[in-house]
């Protein structure tokens, strides 16, 4: 088997607690499908037959009842439950399932919605025998107004500095602004080998990684690494240029003796396969080099290589903030050719519905309603004379007559009283909005949620 897929669905959604305090992030509806359906669908389309899903017990319960996942996903899902307390990072989770991992991995996050041609990433991984291949995308500015946001969007987003070589594929440098105290410092060894480096900041990491099996073995030894994105990837990128991995030939014999001394280098040495002399011969005889201008051989003799595929066209969203969630709801339906109105929904004839809205299953939409650019979830009842514009209505919501909902997110099982006027609001799960209420730019959640800081 070539690759095993691992879906990380245990994340808490810490940046959009208003939405996730009752519905776990992987099950948030986006375009009336649970969020984790999108990466699963991507994997299924590409040809995977089995996925290891790392998630919490709550999510597992919800998954077993969700129709979309049960029926549409034909792959075999091997669900591994971990504790919900949030101490386990993604790398810890990999360490937890180390026994199940028999071959190279494709780690994907549950909040990734993309239409990338996955073979681009995997081809880099295969062709260059890379240790890590990841996907990044150009950041799209979110244009929709986010409910509950007072003032301008906070610009203090921590930027990622990503350095790639001239071809744009080899990953040379990766650091987050938070880690850089007084400036970007680049090691001389990198500059010597790659004198031309392009440093990009406007990229978002899609959290899709192809990892060699040796990395997982390395993780089991090195228990200090707990997050793939935060620690493992920068570590691997740095390690490409460290002396121990580049001077392989001399070290191979010496390190046999000092196995236990330097755990990390020892395990990176395992990157070479057992048929290495033959591969080495093929590489020597081949007249190809990945760079030119200096005297070193292909890849500068390094065994550890990290590659990145940067998407400049196409959809790639990580739904980890409210703004991203709203944007994703807008665009995700365009990925698939599905009927806008679910066949089981009951829509009265005098309803004005725009073509860019989605109505979920078992909805009831009464007369004289107007629904534009919105997503209506399953089992939602919308009474007469309601205007819904630019909003996301989740499942089981009841909207009484005469309401006007604009630019808002209404979570599951909420009830909006008659005549309420909501602009850019976020109504939490199970909340009731009293009739004739007028709210603008507010987050209406239950009292119990407010305590969870």
């Amino acid at each position: 088997m070539e690759l095993q897929a691992v879906l990380m669905a245990a994340g808490g959604g810490s940046r959009m607690t208003d939405l996730t305090y009752s519905t776990p992030k992987p099950m948030l509806p986006v375009g009336n499908k649970p969020l984790m359906w999108y990466p699963l669908n991507l994997l299924e389309r590409v040809g995977f037959e089995e996925v290891i899903v790392i998630t919490t017990k709550d999510v597992q319960k919800m998954m077993s009842t969700d129709t979309k996942i049960k029926h549409d996903v034909k792959m075999k899902l091997d669900v591994v439950c971990i504790q919900e307390d949030g101490d386990m990072g993604t790398a810890d989770a990999l360490r937890y399932i180390q026994q199940k991992i028999k071959t190279d991995l494709l780690v994907i996050s549950c909040d990734l919605i993309t239409d990338v041609a996955l073979h681009e990433v995997v081809d880099l991984f295969r062709a260059h025998n890379a240790t890590l291949a990841m996907l990044m995308s150009k950041v799209h500015e979110f244009t929709e107004t986010v409910p509950g946001q007072k003032g301008k969007k906070k610009t203090a987003e921590q930027r990622d500095f990503v350095g790639v070589d001239q071809s744009g594929k080899r990953l040379l440098f990766m650091a987050n602004e938070a880690d850089l105290e007084d400036g970007l410092s680049i090691r001389k060894s990198i500059m010597r080998k790659h004198p031309r480096m392009h440093i990009k900041t406007g990229l978002v990491d899609a959290h899709l990684y192809c990892l060699k099996k040796a990395v997982v073995d390395f993780l089991t030894e090195n228990k200090s690494i707990s997050s793939i994105r935060g620690e493992l990837v920068p570590y691997l990128v740095r390690k490409q240029f460290s002396k121990s991995t580049t001077s392989q030939k001399q070290e191979d014999t010496e390190d046999q003796n000092q196995t236990k001394n330097d755990e990390s280098t020892n395990h990176e040495l395992l990157v070479s396969s057992r048929d290495d002399p033959l591969l080495q011969l093929a590489q020597e005889r081949s007249c190809w080099n990945d760079h030119r201008g200096d005297m070193s051989e292909a890849y500068h003799g390094g065994k550890l290589r990290c590659y990145v595929h940067i998407m400049d066209q196409g959809l790639c969203y990580r739904v980890n903030t409210l703004a991203a969630y709203i944007e994703a709801n807008r665009l995700a339906p365009k990925l698939f050719e599905e009927p806008v109105v679910h066949p089981s929904a009951v829509i009265s004839e005098r309803c004005q519905m725009g073509s860019d809205s989605i109505i979920g299953a078992l909805c009831q939409v009464a007369d004289k309603t107007s629904i534009k650019r919105s997503t209506i979830g399953n089992s939602t009842a919308i009474k007469e004379k309601v205007k819904v514009t630019n909003s996301i209505i989740m499942h089981g919501v009841t909207i009484e007559e005469g309401c006007n909902i604009q630019g808002s997110v209404i979570c599951s099982n909420a009830v909006i009283g008659r005549g309420a006027d909501l602009k850019y609001c976020l109504v939490g799960n199970g909340q009731r909005i009293e009739p004739e209420a007028e709210r603008t730019n507010e987050v209406i959640v239950g009292a119990d949620q407010l305590m969870e800081i």
Partner: protein, 557 residues
């Protein structure tokens, strides 16, 4: 009268336009003698060929009924091997004697010769059958001719590829024109698509407008890799083979030796991961398993001659595994065979060739090399170690610019080098004392198939009277015969020719210009007159002894 062509003996240089029947032009006589001898020795083969011929005749008879009126009053003389025809008449339109036709038959025919057509009396009954056969043959050829006349190929020049078809069809071991040089024949494409579908391998589609002279070859784009259509954890094709295919199509593994070594490495992994299904024999099942992989690799990049020979060797080894052998034992035996093959044919051969070549390198030499041949680089490095004093001129050409890599490797060792582009070769040749060339394959008629540009270098070197030495391991010797670079070649990605200079990319929209086609050839053939010596692991031989080596090899095996 049919006019022959195709394999014209270079000295005579008659490029008569080939019409349909390309013939090897060898006269019947000598062939007949051989045939009859062979018939005596290998009665079995004879009957097989007869059977094939009968099958063909049945097919053609149907068609001949329609085409009888169109039969031109021409006859060809193709000799059909096995049964020597007693028909002397249609003999000799050809005065050209050439080397023997693409023969799967290693036995070299005694060259030229006058038509001693006396039907060798060895086989009386065969003779009478032979007469019948000769008539049937004449009929077939006539209607084949008319069929191709219909297709309008008459008078077209250099339809060498097409001319090869009928000729090869009549060879005793019926050889069909290989699929990879029939990219413009929709039937062949359909057959190929069906075959790939059966093997569950995606079909790679051609890209861009092809130059008409090369429209019979496939042209792919590197930006459309075959893996687009494969499932990602590839289950149909072993991951090692997918990786190899990608590396071939991206050019990461390039060069005849490198490709063969990488191929054998991948096969080792395939064999290790293989497990015999129940009720199957390893010797047969493993060969069947390898077939789709080979098709896949062919789609990624056409196989090289060396790879073809390596595959033949492996298949032979696999089929020779005795059935009582246990799986583990068989697998380890095969893995061992692969290692031995690489060791003998590549590593030790390189050492032997280096040894012979160093004798030819004297102090004060100025050696010219072209492109990046792993063998030539190895030789030069060895020569440096043996303390010969020489300097090297590296000639390079676009679009591959492989010479840069050769330059890097030589300079790294401390050899003093000069670097020029191929357009400067006539300028720099007066300084040169020897030319060392690598080869992709050595063809059975002594032609050297190598990177495009090699024949030019050899030509100019000949004009300056500079000795040209070709270094080639014996496992690259191929039984194919070619006299030009058109018939069988490889077309690389045409977008490689697009270059940006001073911010301007002129060829960016080349596809919009209807009358423009970009041609990026990979190989060309050098005639043996330009090559003074071929250095192989068996020794230093002249170009024309390649068939002898092939014969010796096949006898050994």
């Amino acid at each position: 009268m049919w006019i022959f062509a195709a394999l014209v003996f270079p000295a005579q240089r008659k490029w008569s336009s080939i019409v349909n029947m390309a013939d090897s032009g060898v006269t019947d006589g000598p062939e007949k003698k051989n045939d009859i001898e062979r018939a005596k020795n290998e009665g079995k083969d004879l009957s097989k060929e007869e059977k094939q011929r009968l099958r063909k005749e049945k097919k053609h008879q149907k068609k001949s009924k329609e085409k009888k009126d169109e039969k031109a009053p021409q006859e060809s003389e193709k000799e059909k091997k096995p049964v020597s025809s007693a028909a002397p008449a249609p003999q000799s339109t050809t005065q050209h004697t050439t080397h023997k036709a693409p023969s799967a038959v290693p036995a070299p025919a005694p060259l030229p010769v006058p038509a001693s057509e006396s039907p060798v009396p060895a086989d009386k009954p065969a003779k009478s059958k032979a007469e019948l056969k000769a008539e049937r043959r004449a009929r077939q050829e006539a209607e084949r001719a008319s069929k191709q006349n219909k297709k309008g190929e008459v008078g077209q020049q250099v339809a060498t590829g097409k001319t090869k078809a009928p000729q090869s069809e009549l060879q005793p071991v019926v050889k069909r024109l290989p699929e990879h040089i029939q990219a413009d024949n929709p039937d062949v494409l359909k057959k190929l698509a069906k075959k790939l579908e059966r093997q569950q391998i995606p079909l790679r589609s051609d890209y861009g407008r092809k130059v008409s002279l090369f429209s019979h070859l496939h042209q792919y784009s590197r930006k459309a890799p075959l893996t687009q259509q494969l499932s990602i954890p590839s289950t149909v094709i072993h991951p090692a083979i997918v990786r190899l295919g990608l590396q071939y199509s991206h050019g990461i593994v390039a060069g005849s030796n490198a490709r063969s070594v990488a191929l054998l490495h991948a096969f080792k992994q395939v064999i290790r991961d293989y497990s015999t299904p129940p009720n199957e024999e390893l010797s047969r099942d493993l060969v069947n398993k390898l077939k789709p992989y080979i098709s896949f690799l062919n789609q990624c990049r056409p196989l090289s001659a060396s790879m073809g020979n390596a595959i033949k060797y492996i298949k032979k080894e696999i089929s020779n595994i005795p059935s009582h052998c246990k799986e583990e034992e068989a697998k380890s035996k095969l893995v061992n065979c692969i290692e031995c093959y690489i060791n003998e044919k590549i590593i030790l051969a390189a050492k032997a060739i280096a040894k012979y070549s160093i004798e030819k390198i004297s102090d004060g030499d100025v050696i010219l090399i072209y492109g990046c041949s792993s063998l030539v680089n190895h030789i030069l490095c060895e020569a440096l170690e043996k303390r010969r004093k020489f300097r090297v001129i590296v000639v390079d050409s676009r679009p591959r610019l492989e010479g840069r890599e050769a330059l890097r490797r030589l300079v790294q060792r401390g050899i003093s080098c000069t670097y020029v582009l191929i357009s400067a070769v006539p300028y720099i040749l007066p300084e040169v004392s020897k030319v060392f060339l690598g080869a992709h394959a050595l063809l059975a008629n002594g032609y050297v198939m190598s990177r495009v540009g090699t024949s030019q270098i050899a030509l100019v070197a000949k004009a300056f009277n500079v000795p040209v030495l070709v270094c080639c391991e014996t496992y690259k010797f191929c039984e194919r015969v070619q006299t030009d670079s058109f018939v069988s070649n490889e077309l690389d990605d045409p977008d490689d020719l697009i270059v940006t200079r001073k911010g301007k990319t002129h060829l960016e929209d080349w596809q919009q210009v209807d009358s423009l086609g970009l041609l990026n050839l990979v190989y060309d053939v050098t005639p043996p007159d330009f090559v003074d010596l071929v250095i192989t692991d068996l020794g230093m031989i002249p170009c024309t002894s390649v068939p002898v080596v092939l014969r010796v090899k096949s006898v050994d095996q």
